[in-house]
């Protein structure tokens, strides 16, 4: 049990829309768990609520419903005052490194900031540790005296990662950490993250919309659609045995860079429905090619079809959930 770093139960988040009295249902009953040293990938399109989940877990925004257990402690309603010291153990890396760093602080101060907040360190200790951290993320020490505007996107993201690992946290949420970076820069960051996960044994929640990236780094992958986890699947089964119709269509839209891989196109009709008026029943039924009448009224429960592989689809039982056999 102590191995479990984070778990959520029925986590929900609604945002009010102006003063209209209606809500954007960003997250709707999500159960997740991440163990020490594990990387949970979270994939979904825009509006799937993946970023909101990341922020809610860290209590950067308050959940509307459900429970968050971090390191054995229920933090769902913990007041800010008590959350703040816990941030030592839970850190975040944001998507856009250009805007995630205070433009008026020096790189060295930015990396040292979590140390200054959470540890009682002498100045020289702090400087030494900052240099070690910069070296760890392969950032030249020359940059420590510069401001963020002097660095490239990849270098800035390394600064963000150094900040995140500074206090040896137990959980790091990475919200699309490589999406805004160029391909070759992206590869370097992914390599760094891979090394760090082995070294730090921290639990990673890796949020991305790119299936290739997420498969590369995750142990398990949760597929989100309209704020719900529709499938949770071990990494090797994502491409070989996708069982929710949405996962299958997501995979079919994925474009591998190998021109020899033939595409098995399964284009979904229409676009993701508005999270203000969620579809009834299974939220995917409006676009699902194999939806039946009962999908409109019944919310599917998650079935464990093999160890660690959970699928929420009503058509699982009659075997009609596979939309294209040849996808396998």
């Amino acid at each position: 049990m102590s191995e479990l770093v984070l778990s959520t139960k029925n986590l929900s988040k609604r945002f009010p829309v102006g003063r209209s009295g209606s809500f954007v249902n960003a997250v709707n009953g999500v159960d997740l768990s991440i163990k020490r040293g594990e990387v949970l990938g979270m994939v979904g399109e825009s509006g799937s609520g993946k970023s909101t989940i990341g922020r809610t877990i860290l209590r950067l925004t308050d959940p509307s419903d459900g429970e968050i257990t971090f390191d054995g402690q229920d933090i769902t309603t913990l007041p800010t005052k008590l959350i703040r010291p816990m941030r030592k153990d839970m850190q975040m890396v944001f998507q856009d490194p250009w805007s995630a760093l205070n433009p008026r602080m020096k790189i060295g101060d930015l990396i040292a900031e979590p140390l200054r907040i959470h540890f009682n360190m002498s100045r020289s200790e702090c400087n030494d540790r900052t240099e070690v951290l910069a070296e760890r993320v392969r950032l030249s020490a020359d940059f420590l005296n510069r401001t963020p505007s002097a660095l490239s996107g990849g270098q800035l993201q390394r600064v963000c990662i150094a900040r995140a690992i500074a206090t040896n946290p137990k959980l790091i949420v990475l919200d699309e950490p490589t999406s805004s970076l160029d391909l070759s820069v992206r590869a370097g960051i992914l390599e760094l993250l891979q090394e760090l996960r082995a070294e730090t044994q921290a639990a990673f929640l890796f949020i991305s919309h790119d299936l290739g990236t997420i498969k590369l780094i995750s142990d398990r992958i949760a597929v989100l659609y309209l704020g719900r986890v529709v499938e949770e699947v071990p990494k090797d089964k994502l491409f070989s045995d996708p069982s929710h119709p949405y996962t299958q269509s997501l995979l079919s839209a994925h474009l591998p860079s190998d021109p020899n891989e033939t595409l098995q196109r399964l284009t979904l009709q229409g676009e993701i429905p508005s999270p203000i008026n969620l579809p009834t029943g299974c939220s995917f039924h409006t676009r699902c090619p194999v939806a039946i009448n009962s999908c409109q009224s019944n919310v599917p429960e998650a079935d464990e079809i093999s160890p660690g592989h959970l699928v929420s689809c009503l058509r699982l039982k009659d075997g009609q959930n596979i939309i294209r056999r040849d996808l396998k």
Binding site: E45, S152, A187, H209, G212, I217, S249, A253, P256, S257
Partner: protein
Amino acid sequence: MNLLSVQDLQTHFIFRDIDHQLREAKALNKVNLTLNSGQVLGIVGETGAGKSLTAQSICGLLRPPAKIVGGSVTFQGRELLTLSEDEINTIRGAEIAMVVQNPRSSLDPLTQIGAQLVRLHQTHTGGPLAGSRKKALDMMQAVGIPDPEGRFTAWPHELSGGMAQRVLIAMALINEPKLLIADEPTTGLDVTVQAQILDLLNELVARFDMGCMIITHDLGIVAHYCDQVAVMFAGEIVEQGPTREVFLTPAHPYTQQLLAATPERLQLGVKSQLGGQPPDLFNLPTGCLSQDRCTLATEKCGAPPPLIEISKGHLARCHFVKPAEKGRSKSNE
């Protein structure tokens, strides 16, 4: 005759910086491209490689401080770079159309989408209004907008990102252009919507027998939707050729690096040879532009690398590339 032929295109940024000093950045360095009707050409490269600038230079959309300082762009045998602003205006939007990134900001927010389509058709093709209206509805149908009659009076803000991109494609195609330039047409769209848009583009290129240039940083898009590919680095095309050949047997070290960095091929834990900054456009090195980040680089690379034809149509600009057949290499200084 090629539909579009770009020769030795050079675009520089010339401006005075904060210290009043005249600076000149060589953003495009002798770009050569050809494109035929019915063909899809992908231009790939990382941020700052000059992909979009190439498109803007071709379309005459440059504004100061960017300036074309050399080369030629011929479209259907006609030189575009010497045309006056008025002349280019009659071509742009009619014979050459552009689809840009970020569709919503490219639509006039105060005009209904039907009216925008009609206006564009009237500007270039003219004819009776009813004809334009019919054409607009046909186009909306062709790009897969459901209920064109109903959407005719929709406002841009009522459209989703994918729908706005479809409208933009409809606007690009309404005058039946010969050349379509799509600059990151699906960046920012969801993958399932991206698939819809790219399938649509492919289908329309075949149907209207257009030439299409897709500018993207996504190698997956190129692999599956482009016949030809040009890989750009630091304002230069380092390798070009049929997509399958370039992707399966990349010749230039930079192309190899780029392909190795795709998630499918990337192997974590194996130290990759990636990294290094692109060269300073204000102060380009003599010789090979990628020498600073290339693992193969030797003193030899201080000299400008030759453009070597590896097989028919597959060219790479590198000292270490060997031509497939003897006597077919040509250097291009």
